[in-house]
């Protein structure tokens, strides 16, 4: 066969970059880089698939840590809500019995004057913002959720607690009609109503958030509608769902999981990769949607904002 091989230096016409484009190569590189940055926006756009129409007005989170959001689908189909079932996938189908209409929140304890809040009324008075937070479960999984809501600090100020109030105690609704597991008595998964608590300085921290929505629309029932707590530097169980009562108290409240097993779940429940849970290592976590694990950050990545709250405390003891 007679194959004519061109020498390597003999370039054909289409191998040559036109001078004009060659000169523009810097802007090409920039374009390439820009497309990589923008992929975050593309992911966000894709993540918004299947989301109900956003109907909340809120101040957008700048997402300075460039966190990749979990999809609406992931966030709303994988839930721990023991009042319905211990099956994370099963909550969504059962949660319809929760009735969030005319939701009231009772505020009592060490306040100037106890009162009851109409939730919709409260929301209309609050400045609603978006908070893109990491969310870490003690079981070793995590996700990134764009919550909508307001800072707890604003509500506390409105409640006018007395100076004696050292802790804040939250309680979910007790209603056997709404929550099937509550009617199971001794066969129930945990003691009801579900109780959680924060120290006053934790509650006043700028990160501590009362969520009423996610992805710009009101919270689905399985995610703790109509209002829930979000403390992103603590394990997920601390973020009590469907809050019906807030009390200001002097003594540290006994939270549900501490009551169930104080050796494994403490009052603080701070995300701490250096202190293992007796059964599960906390060093790493699996972000939902990813197959491999990533390292867990101290205080779930919010060390700068909250580490000062625990100065001088032995974090092996105060779990």
């Amino acid at each position: 066969m007679n194959i004519i091989k061109k020498p390597s230096w003999n370039l054909s016409e289409n191998d040559v970059t036109p001078q004009e484009l060659f000169d523009k190569r810097r802007s090409f590189l920039k374009l390439g880089a820009a497309s990589m940055v923008a992929s975050g926006a593309i992911i966000e756009a894709l993540a918004k698939d299947n989301i109900p129409v956003a109907n909340l007005k809120y101040i957008k989170d700048k997402n300075i840590d460039n966190l990749k959001l979990n999809t609406y689908e992931q966030i709303t189909t994988y839930n721990n809500f023991y009042e319905f079932t211990t099956s994370k996938g099963g909550v969504k189908d059962l949660a319809h019995t929760l009735d969030t209409n005319n939701w009231k929140i009772e505020i009592d304890g060490l306040v100037e004057k106890p009162f009851t809040l109409d939730l919709e009324d409260l929301i209309s008075k609050m400045s609603i913002e978006e908070r893109i937070y990491r969310f870490r479960c003690v079981e070793g999984w995590s996700m990134v959720v764009p919550w909508n809501g307001f800072v707890l600090k604003d509500l506390i100020k409105a409640a006018k607690p007395l100076s004696k109030a050292k802790y804040i105690r939250f309680e979910t609704k007790y209603d056997e009609e709404m929550f099937p597991d509550q009617s199971r008595g001794v066969f129930g998964s945990v003691d009801y109503p579900y109780v959680e608590g924060l120290r006053m300085d934790e509650a006043m921290n700028d990160l501590t958030f009362m969520a009423i929505g996610l992805y710009g629309s009101r919270l689905p029932k399985q995610n703790g509608a109509p209002i829930r707590l979000v403390t992103p530097w603590k394990y997920g169980f601390k973020s009590i769902k469907s809050i019906a009562k807030i009390s200001f108290v002097e003594e540290e409240p006994l939270n549900t999981w501490q009551k169930a097993n104080s050796r494994e779940y403490g009052f603080y429940a701070n995300v701490n990769p250096n202190v293992d849970h007796p059964r599960w290592s906390q060093k790493r976590e699996r972000v939902l949607g990813k197959f491999f694990k990533q390292k867990t950050l101290m205080f779930n990545g919010y060390e700068e904002e909250v580490a000062h709250l625990y100065k001088g405390m032995d974090l092996r003891k105060y779990i």
């Binding site: 994988y78 211990t86 994370k88 079981e139 998964s189 290592s281 197959f291």
Partner: protein
């Protein structure tokens, strides 16, 4: 034909698991593998000890080895999930966790008992080692503790499992007592 049916039945949890993983795409695949492989192994292994009890009604003695090996297969899957996907082959982490956490070392001990039984299940070796196959009872006790410890709370479905396990344990004990008296 009977053997094929039993094999297909024992393989169905694996098919179900693969379908969930690759077609329906569960949110937390590693956890899901743990749950399905763990429960399947537990159910099959508990069933394997009831075979000698029910042989008058349904005689599956011929398939006992196959059934036991399938139980081991799901336990192996459970173990591979821990080592490869969960621990990501980090040997230091595996050893540290195993020595540190009762929940894990109980499971490990049970696994090594099953591994020993699987390896000595060939005709030749079984003749030599069959008396050690009674270790299955220790493995089952460890598996049950491991299973309960894996839960955050004892919910209603777990109660059902425990009741079934206690019933099987009771009848098995009765069977052993009756057999021993008979020998005398």
């Amino acid at each position: 034909m009977k053997r094929l049916t039993i094999h297909l039945l024992l393989l169905s949890p694996l098919v179900f698991l693969l379908a969930q993983l690759f077609i329906f795409e569960v949110n937390d695949p590693i956890k899901y593998i743990y749950i399905v492989s763990g429960i399947t192994a537990t159910v099959i292994l508990f069933f394997s000890i009831t075979i000698s009890m029910i042989k008058k009604h349904i005689n599956l003695m011929k398939f006992r080895k196959d059934i036991g090996l399938f139980g081991f297969f799901y336990a192996l899957l459970h173990m591979v999930n821990f080592i490869v996907f969960d621990a990501q082959l980090d040997l230091g982490f595996i050893i540290e966790e195993t020595l540190d956490k009762p929940f894990i070392y109980l499971g490990m001990i049970a696994f090594f008992i099953l591994l020993f039984m699987a390896l000595t299940s060939t005709k030749k070796l079984f003749r030599k080692f069959n008396k050690y196959h009674r270790l299955i009872y220790i493995a089952l006790v460890l598996i049950t503790i491991h299973f309960i410890m894996a839960q955050k709370t004892i919910a209603l479905d777990l109660f059902c499992y425990i009741v079934i396990i206690i019933v099987i344990g009771y009848y098995k004990l009765l069977q052993i007592i009756v057999r021993n008296n008979h020998v005398k």
